[in-house]
Symmetry: C2
Subunit: 699 residues, 2 copies
């Protein structure tokens, strides 16, 4: 059912409602209206990386890992997996009369905020620091979630609109100040793309204010959304964000005023309880009844488009057995494999099991389910930790010795221990008895996450710095000092500086939070059953570089992310090694069907087949509006066999050749120069990867 | 090194110490005395079911499950596994200079208290409700732990001496009142056996008072131990139990008096900090210095006997690689298999996988690691839950659908849910889509356990009743109402009344807390790769029968346990089905090498090989001193092939033919009558098992 038809039905339905009935539908737990045949519906559901919080579901890598795949086709498939399982679960719940939270088809995903500061606890939920990559991955996930059928498969939601990325502990009172240029260049493009191109059905307003206005009632933001981009879906507040108007932001005096402010601005749906005051707000003349009815129409339009009011759809026949079916699990496993980023490899990986009779697996994340799943996750019927994955892969082939090594962040595992580091003797003994060691370290959602959800010892859900907790640093240093060939597997959702341990380790594989069975994918990569191919969607800074960066509360992009950072970093955006030895041999800008493409010839001089990612960056030489460094404008995941080549084209959207002036207008300026390569093709990355950056020739 | 030799060395060493030095050695964290070449030593270690709290170790079923094996040979092997791994871990820790808690060789295990009330949270730590079974299993574990070499492999500890079994929340102030008959007949025999026969090196005093005296300074109890039974090892207080003297029991005024009272009574070692006052107690004349020195001598005797002072031993060469080696893991798995008790089987088990294409696995314990491990546990390098075990076994053979079904005890899984039972729709859907259902329910150490350790919603670590939490009862009833063939797998450490669900289910398999990889053993049993053979070491009462039992605080045995309970119960002590159809055909009391044995002829009329347990009970007919019902006096685990027979003898200790009079003296009285069978051979059990009870003929 198209939007026009759905809206006509919605208008007809809402016209029959009293004000009270219509207003009641604007809260996330929308009650039934029996006289109109409307069932109750809870709008709150989550599918950040698979259906979340609703029982069993296929769990993908955390969003930041999905971004690292640089594989929009796969991400679109994952969106479809989530929508399909969401449908199956919705069908099952509905049949049993369960219309509770997390049982609906309106998923408040993806999170397309820009991961501008490496300390942000919720950065793991995003597609990274780059607007172009975020837009591509976000749009792909939305396409997958919503489908392209006559009925919308599920409703996706672009959040948090807009300019939202920490600090977590200030979010209910904070005013993010962003220039017109930063808005247009960094904070808004992904939202615009999801609205205009992916036709995302919903947009969620952020907790904070942006440039003075609370995001859930911002005339400036709503103007972009409704007027400039033509958004026709529904707008939902973040949860209890409208209450923040009077309790945190103090832009209103009370709940009635807050509700009125939000509805008048066009916030259709309230996650929270502020809209219980809507009828009062209308009665006292603060809110316009027509606004209430318009929002109700938008919400029922979505329900009709989902086919969950009225005649139903083919999706009603999706059986429960699709949940965690082999096809879905394989897609998640593929994503986990593609997400892992090989940061360092001094010839240690893949492990040569001809030389390893005993493998030590050490670290607090080695057998940690929590470090597989990140936040906003579902439940898996099976978890495969890194330790389990390695055990499975080596069963009958080598002995695997294990030690937790240390607590994730406390100074001892057992509270009764008289000394700190009470598992260190075990860890050292394991290392001494092993031919090689895998150190599995990092964070989990108790250490980086969302305000209120974490038990972060640093006092908020954000990271204090880029180092791992001291317990892990001491353990890593001690185990590395044993001197065995050592690989670090890092499970975290953000930039981490491993410090000396990272320098001393023979290899470092970044697994993000790889999903419920991510340990299998990681074991496959460690053992060379597949080649790593993920690329960093965020810059990995050196910890000391934090000191030179803008304050966490400063939303200016100057000095932030690879586009604006002036110094050599630990590992740059777009970086990631493989077990192959691939590089771009030549790159030529051509026209294909009237659109620009870059024709690439690439070769793999290595002995292993591998996926790679061709990344194309653009710079506007001589333009004062251009960001400091070349910026991603196109990319394509390819596969190159060992000692083979790949030839093909990578489409480039010429809008990326524009720069943004100080007023936020896109304009042509400077000389457009393109570079193509594997990994970010600048001199610094070239030195790290050993690959040349190739200037793109213009025909 | 024998005790005499060790004691001579200890006396020589202690003679060189100042009072302060000697007194300092009587606290569990004994400091180094460098001038005498004595390293620091922490006496506190645990090995209730494998080495606990010290990192990786092979984890056996919880003690109550070990008891259910009725297999002392296996339990002795498990004790040796724990001692061997303890040695390997001690060697590793020592090499790294780590002498912290849980790193020593003095294991405060086993717990041989009598599980007299089914509500006791720590009942899971015991070998059940029967003194004879407890003594046999406890002695076997001690033999395994201590070994029979010239050097003691590890030091075991019989705890908690004596008359200790809840309520947990009163333990620091409670006075257990036990008659002389109950002491001699029920509470003390296992302690006596472990001291006299198994030569247990250590005894731990309980928190509570017994008949007015605090157990860690009881002249009555110490008289049994040292004078009547000849105990020569060391006596340790429960942790901070001496502080309870003045803070809980109010038998002293302050810490100095408490320390004096304990040392004067012969409590050699203080787990806690009360003995920091020992020197003061001597100085003010409350304590005798010779007592301090005697206790120090006993403690150093143990250390010399362990070979950890002086010349060392062959055990110093036990390599770390024995930890979780295949042989140890196999012993643990065997124990898990033997521990499971098949409570009910209406032909449902073993599962006929020719008829099952989809199997539903539902319940809060299905994928719960916590429900595998019980309390006082180590860490496993791998956990196999029931769900994982089933998935592994059915991979490629059948689809496994899963649902947590409900929270373990809360009314909803997700706190934001508006309605309770927020996973019920999923559970029902799984059942509807399955050909058969496995419901995995029960408790874990958060619901039954030790005071202070649990998050028990009922306000203490003990159970309030014998039912599962309401969340699970509602879920079970609803899933059973779907009508699919359903097996309940119950994971709990004590008697549970499943209520209607138990009646409606087609089969009930009790897995206890089966250990880290217990899910594999349970899957093997469900699928018929082995036959269940465990027997109940405790009576499974109907919940309503609690009302007729003595108060939890009443330590009189009248009306408690199978020996004194007058009514038909849900499942009696000694009960347990198999997939065979075995029964005793004839039983004859004979003499063999001058000792009584019962010659058994048994047959298995069934189609499956199985282990069985021949249980022999004795009654003294006509004796007013005899317990109400026949009592276990001998048992033997046997293996009978399908359609085969077993013939052999079961030794009987004639001391079990004696009864205990009101003064606590053992005496001959009444006519001794023996019964032999599989499962407790009385009329009620016979009806449940379909097996005859066979009177033992006397030649």
């Amino acid at each position: 059912m198209d939007r026009k038809e759905a809206r006509a039905l919605a208008e007809k339905l809402v016209a029959q409602m009293t004000l009270e009935e219509a207003a009641g539908q604007l809260s996330f737990r929308a009650p039934a209206i029996e006289r109109l045949g409307i069932p109750s519906y809870d709008w709150w559901n989550e599918a950040l990386h698979g259906v979340a919080r609703a029982g069993m579901a296929t769990m993908f890598p955390q969003a930041i890992g999905m971004a690292a795949t640089f594989d929009p086709e796969l991400i679109e498939q994952l969106g479809d997996v989530a929508a399909t399982e969401g449908r199956a679960k919705y069908n099952a719940a509905s049949r049993h009369g369960d219309t509770d939270i997390y049982k609906g088809l309106t998923f408040w995903s993806p999170n397309i905020n820009i991961f501008r500061d490496p300390r942000w606890g919720r950065g793991q939920e995003t597609f990274g620091e780059d607007p172009m990559l975020t837009g591509e991955m976000g749009a792909a996930y939305v396409r997958g979630l919503q489908g392209d059928g006559p009925v919308m498969k599920a409703s996706a939601c672009a959040k948090h609109f807009a300019v939202h990325s920490g600090p977590e502990d200030l979010r209910h009172e904070f005013d993010a100040k962003a220039s017109a240029k930063d808005m247009a260049e960094t904070y808004l493009p992904a939202f615009e793309k999801l609205v205009r191109e992916a036709k995302v059905e919903s947009v969620m307003g952020a907790y904070n204010r942006t440039n003075g206005e609370p995001c859930c009632a911002s005339s400036a933001l709503m103007d972009f959304l409704r007027n400039q981009w033509g958004f026709e879906g529904h707008f939902v507040s973040d949860c209890w964000a409208i209450r923040d108007f009077h309790e945190g932001h103090h832009v209103t005096e009370n709940a009635v005023e807050s509700a009125a402010m939000a509805i008048n601005a066009g916030c259709d749906l309230n996650c929270g309880c502020s809209y219980e005051k809507l009828v009062t707000a209308v009665r006292v003349g603060l809110a316009d009844e027509s606004k209430v009815r318009e929002s109700a129409v938008r919400l029922f339009t979505t329900r009709y488009m989902l086919g969950i009011l009225g005649e139903g759809s083919e999706y009603d026949n999706i059986p429960y057995t699709v949940v965690e079916c082999d096809e879905h699990l394989e897609a998640a496993e593929k994503a986990a494999r593609e997400a892992c980023v090989l940061l360092k490899n001094d010839g240690m990986l893949p492990l040569d099991m001809d030389k390893i009779r005993t493998l030590g697996v050490i670290g607090p994340n080695a057998d940690s389910i929590s470090s597989l799943i990140g936040n906003y996750h579902g439940t898996s019927s099976r978890y495969i930790t890194v330790q389990t994955g390695i055990q499975d892969a080596l069963e009958g082939k080598a002995r695997v010795l294990c030690s937790v090594g240390c607590h994730l962040y406390k100074d001892r595992v057992d509270g009764l221990s008289a000394c700190r580091d009470d598992r260190l003797a075990e860890a050292l003994t394991v290392a001494e008895n092993s031919d090689a060691v895998i150190l599995v370290v990092g964070l989990d959602e108790t250490l980086e996450g969302e305000q209120g959800d974490t038990s972060n010892p640093y006092g908020s859900a954000d990271k204090r710095d880029l180092f791992l907790p001291e317990s892990q640093r001491r353990m890593m240093d001690a185990v590395l000092a044993v001197g065995k060939p050592t690989t670090i597997v890092l499970l975290a959702g953000s930039a981490i500086d491993l410090g000396e341990a990272g320098e001393k380790a023979d290899a470092v594989l970044l697994g993000w939070y790889p999903g419920a069975r991510g340990g299998k994918a990681i074991a496959d990569l460690l053992l060379g059953k597949a080649s790593p191919s993920g690329k960093l969607p965020v810059t990995f800074y050196r910890n000391e570089q934090l000191a030179g960066m803008p304050e966490f509360t400063d939303y200016s992009m100057k000095g932030r992310t690879y586009r604006y950072f002036a110094h050599e970093v630990l590992y740059p955006f777009g970086y990631g090694l493989t077990y192959g030895d691939a590089s771009v041999c030549s790159a030529v800008l051509e026209q294909k069907d009237g659109k620009p493409v870059v024709r690439i010839e690439a070769e793999n001089a290595g002995d292993m087949d591998t996926d790679e990612v061709v990344e194309i960056y653009v710079q506007n030489e001589g333009s004062s509006f251009a960001p400091l460094n070349p910026r991603l404008c196109a990319f394509k995941r390819i596969r190159i066999p060992a000692h083979g080549t790949w030839t093909g084209t990578v489409p480039v959207d010429p809008r990326h050749f524009l720069v943004v002036d100080e007023d936020g207008h896109r304009t042509q300026d400077g000389k457009v120069v393109l570079y193509a390569g594997m990994g970010q093709p600048d001199a610094r990355t070239a030195a790290l990867t050993g690959h040349k950056a190739v200037p793109v020739k213009t025909m």
